[in-house]
């Protein structure tokens, strides 16, 4: 028996979900808007707002650039919630393109409708968490608050269990059942379960018009339909909403400006005006535009933009109270650094020589795998003929340096795991490119000249 509490749980749960759940007590805002806050307080409040936007992915009021998809999805869900029509839809888009955000905005608006608020039940499943159909079923039972109803019953199959749950929702004053929205995050992971029972049963229910059910899948894989079995695919309505960002660079700059600006209801209007003014000036600066253009060319999604802006915003402090272009330049440098080059910077000379020997082997033999003996041979040739500064090391010492490179995963065995051969003869590949090695060599501190010459020479 469902209790009247369920009616309100969905709306309360949804409305509160994306608001700030935790966080410090808000600064007491005086009635008079002209009350100025001290510099530190202003900065703190600005940081709090911006961090919520950039880190916590607070839902925006209106999703940017996704109007048609928004309307379509809202209409679809309204038909399920209000008119009791069963539907299934997949939202497909690359990582960071705003699938969860879009869904959040649509559900927020849906729950504000009076008819939907009273009726609709929401079940949220995630492919990362519910890795098995049994776990998924328990989670569905829990989210529909039917644990007591199910009690200790044992069901023969998944289908029976699901049918029982949906039947339980029917008993009430209304003869028809309440609409249930199933949101399946990481939909492609559900397709890897055994026999795809969960997907089959949910889509079966959505086709059989017993209970009004809407199945919403969110996935990043474009080929998700290939993963579905034939019987599952045939029950799916083949409605897909694609989220491909179609922003131009000018629109992207506008978005940047909007993300960094403080809202008009900020308690200290002088501070917020100053801040917004500095942000506008910053966006017009040439170097900043160059950096944003490079980021835009890399990926148009907002997630990478958020991490760039976050690194810049986190440098703002009392002594340094506006966002400057140096902050953005530093943030860009942190993001675009090559991590393998950083790792190569910290290697010892012996390890660096081994990497150069491997690079030469790769160049000579066109990327065929090598083993430790070959690398040691190359290294010995260098020591005997060209080197003055590196003296001869014993083979076990060179082996230990080689094993350190293995541990850092700069070198990987070709068939990982099978070690029928001796260690020295196991075939390996170098996980670095020619260009990366040469660049790292330029930055290496106090690199001996003969090592550099050896690296630059054509044939070892």
């Amino acid at each position: 028996m469902w209790t009247p509490e369920i009616r309100h749980v969905a709306s309360r749960k949804y409305a509160g979900q994306w608001r700030e759940i935790t966080g410090p007590a808000p600064v007491k805002m005086s009635k008079r808007r002209s009350a100025a806050l001290t510099g530190a307080q202003g900065i703190s409040l600005a940081q709090k707002l911006l961090r919520e936007r950039l880190c916590h992915q607070k839902l925006p009021d209106q999703p940017v650039g996704l109007d048609s998809q928004y309307k379509y999805l809202l209409e679809l869900l309204r038909r399920t919630a209000v008119h009791g029509e069963s539907n299934s839809v997949l939202i497909v888009g690359p990582r960071g393109s705003g699938k969860t955000m879009l869904l959040g905005c649509v559900l927020r608006e849906l729950m504000s409708l009076k008819e939907a608020q009273k009726n609709v039940l929401l079940v949220e499943l995630n492919g990362l968490l519910q890795t098995d159909d049994k776990i998924a079923l328990k989670e569905i039972t829990r989210q529909l608050h039917l644990e007591n109803v199910v009690g200790d019953k044992v069901f023969g199959s998944f289908a029976e269990n699901l049918a029982f749950l949906l039947e339980a929702l029917k008993k009430g004053d209304k003869s028809s059942s309440r609409p249930v929205l199933f949101v399946l995050d990481e939909f492609d992971l559900f397709a890897h379960h055994k026999n795809q029972t969960l997907l089959y049963n949910l889509l079966d229910v959505s086709q059989s018009a017993q209970t009004p059910v809407a199945v919403l899948g969110l996935t990043c894989r474009l080929d998700v339909l290939e993963l579905l079995e034939k019987r599952v695919k045939s029950r799916f309505s083949h409605r897909q909403i694609h989220l491909f960002s179609s922003l131009s660079f000018a629109q992207y700059l506008d978005v940047v400006r909007a993300q960094l600006s403080l809202p008009p209801d900020f308690p200290d209007p002088k501070f917020s005006d100053e801040w917004n003014h500095s942000v506008t000036k910053l966006c017009e600066d040439k170097t900043v535009e160059e950096i944003l253009r490079r980021n835009f060319n890399g990926s148009k999604d907002f997630r990478s933009l958020h991490s760039l802006l976050f690194l810049a915003v986190s440098r703002v402090s009392v002594s340094h109270s506006t966002l400057r272009e140096a902050d953005l330049i530093e943030a860009w440098r942190l993001i675009s650094v090559d991590s393998k080059a950083n790792v190569l910077h910290g290697l010892s000379i012996l390890e660096l020589c081994l990497i150069i020997a491997m690079k030469h082997l790769n160049d000579t033999y066109d990327g065929e795998p090598f083993n430790f003996q070959m690398v040691h041979n190359e290294f010995k040739k260098f020591i005997q003929r060209k080197s003055h500064s590196i003296h001869k090391f014993e083979k076990p010492v060179v082996m230990k340096a080689f094993e350190h490179l293995l541990q850092l995963e700069l070198v990987r065995p070709v068939d990982s795991g099978v070690c029928k051969v001796q260690r020295e003869y196991q075939l390996m590949r170098l996980m670095l490119e020619h260009g990366q090695v040469m660049e790292a060599l330029q930055k290496y501190p106090q690199c001996p000249t003969d090592v550099k010459q050896w690296a630059l020479s054509a044939f070892g």
Binding site: G23, E52, S314, S317, S319, S339, N342, Q373, P396
Partner: protein, 475 residues
């Protein structure tokens, strides 16, 4: 001495450095850039980025700096070492008990899944909402790639899944590109901890361990000598500290005996340098334990008779086993077509066939030992051994014992009794050591020399035969 650390302009914290060891003070100073970056990114009173990934070489201070930030600012954190977490349930248990107490952790079912963990976390955090950001610190995060495939992506977006102000910090030696799952995940912020530079940082840090009865300048010069020997091989701070501590008593020997003064750096260097070279071959490679090393220094054995771990160095083999092993080496590393030339009394010249011309690049010594049948081994054995040997069971049983000692390895199935195949698993150095023990005639040396010459001829055509053979005779 007090250090002021400014936290994004909100409050200043004054740390009393007498409570923290000098090591961490140094780290706070020199890694201030890193610490400031991290601290500005993980502001405790507001939201932080959901996940942060810190990478850098061993002993660059990653765990130390992060944990010291957590302790100094008294932030709620759960520090987990992923090596200890054989199953993901252990990780969940540690996190829940660190944040919500052991009762919360006891609520986890027997084999908790990620779903149980998230559900319990949500339940607990709604009962006790966070006033500050909670931090989960995962050390040696590369082990997480071997656990459940969904653990890493789920932890990276934990803030969104549990709806709480929590940040996950991953510490690892390996770069982020090797962690990313196939279909992508939530990208964390990346921070790099740079390695120490030789001049400024490394010498300074190592000099802190100085013995109170000697001046710091003496210790600094000792460190410089040590780094001169070991820096080109190893930059790991822990390893270098260990070596410095082990060898310092030997360094101070002339001072104690009165043979040299503290300013006679050259004399001290001459005393310690061969000792450090020996250390590189033994203690550095862990062939000898540190206890044995210290004992050896006390006994003042100048002879280089250290009992090293690699057992191969002092195996005592029976007489015929030695010849069998030499024969096995020759069988593994010489191609079968050269047998006729080596082992028959009258042989013709070897002509370089097309086969040789095509495969000039790679020689057998680089590719590893090749398998050979038992018959070939016995044939070479009979021609190598200097007396007449009858094929008795004792000779054949020695082959099996060589396999047990892992000096030979059997290739193929165990049940192939007809013609078993073997491979030689020892190196040339070992064989040469054995053949010196055995009363060997020049002919054997020539055989080895010729085998090496064939392979070097294959590699380099211009090297003349005579220089090769003469070089090898010097061995």
């Amino acid at each position: 001495m007090k250090i002021h650390i400014c936290l994004t302009g909100i409050k200043t914290i004054i740390l009393d450095c007498n409570n923290i060891s000098q090591y961490s003070v140094f780290l706070i100073n020199s890694a201030l850039m890193n610490r400031r970056d991290i601290m500005s990114a993980v502001n405790p009173d507001q939201y932080s980025y959901p996940s942060v990934f810190i990478y850098g070489h061993r002993a660059t201070g990653k765990s130390h700096v992060v944990l010291s930030i957590m302790k100094d600012l008294e932030l709620p954190h759960a520090s987990v070492d992923c090596v200890e977490c054989v199953s993901s349930g252990l990780l969940f248990h540690q996190v829940l008990s660190a944040f919500f107490g052991p009762d919360a952790a006891a609520l986890l079912p027997r084999c908790p899944s990620l779903s149980d963990f998230v559900r319990l976390y949500k339940q607990m955090s709604s009962n006790s909402p966070a006033t500050q950001t909670r931090y989960i610190i995962l050390d040696r995060a590369e082990r997480m790639r071997d656990m459940d495939f969904s653990l890493l992506p789920a932890l990276l977006r934990l803030q969104e899944l549990v709806n709480d102000n929590v940040t996950v910090i991953l510490l690892s030696e390996i770069v982020w590109e090797k962690f990313r799952p196939n279909t992508g995940c939530f990208e964390p912020l990346l921070f790099h901890f740079p390695d120490y530079s030789k001049g400024k940082s490394l010498v300074q840090i190592l000099s802190w361990d100085h013995h109170p009865s000697y001046t710091p300048e003496l210790y600094a010069s000792y460190i410089n000598i040590l780094l001169g020997v070991f820096f080109s091989v190893c930059r790991d701070l822990r390893e270098l500290r260990h070596l410095a501590v082990l060898n310092f008593s030997k360094f101070c020997e002339p001072l104690e005996k009165g043979e040299a003064k503290e300013s006679d750096i050259h004399k001290l260097w001459k005393n310690i340098e061969p000792h450090l070279q020996r250390a590189m071959q033994t203690v550095y490679l862990r062939e000898v334990s540190s206890v044995q090393w210290e004992q050896q220094q006390m006994d003042e054995k100048e002879a280089t008779t250290l009992r090293v771990l690699s057992a191969h160095a002092h195996i005592e083999l029976p007489y015929y086993s030695k010849f069998l092993l030499i024969a096995a080496y020759l069988a593994s590393f010489n191609p079968a077509r050269t047998d006729r030339r080596f082992f028959l009394k009258s042989h013709g010249k070897i002509r370089k066939t097309n086969f040789l011309k095509k495969h000039e690049k790679t020689s057998n010594h680089l590719l590893g030992p090749k398998p050979f049948p038992l018959d070939r081994l016995m044939a070479i054995f009979y021609s190598v051994v200097d007396s007449r040997v009858a094929p008795t069971a004792s000779v054949f049983s020695q082959i099996s014992s060589l396999v047990t000692l892992q000096l030979l390895s059997q290739v193929g199935h165990d049940d192939q009794l007809d013609s078993p195949k073997y491979k030689c698993s020892v190196s040339l150095d070992f064989i040469l050591a054995i053949s010196r023990c055995v009363c060997v005639c020049v002919r054997l040396l020539d055989l080895l020399a010729l085998s090496l010459v064939i392979q070097s001829q294959v590699v380099r055509q211009e090297r003349s035969l005579f220089t090769a053979v003469s070089n090898l005779h010097l061995l």
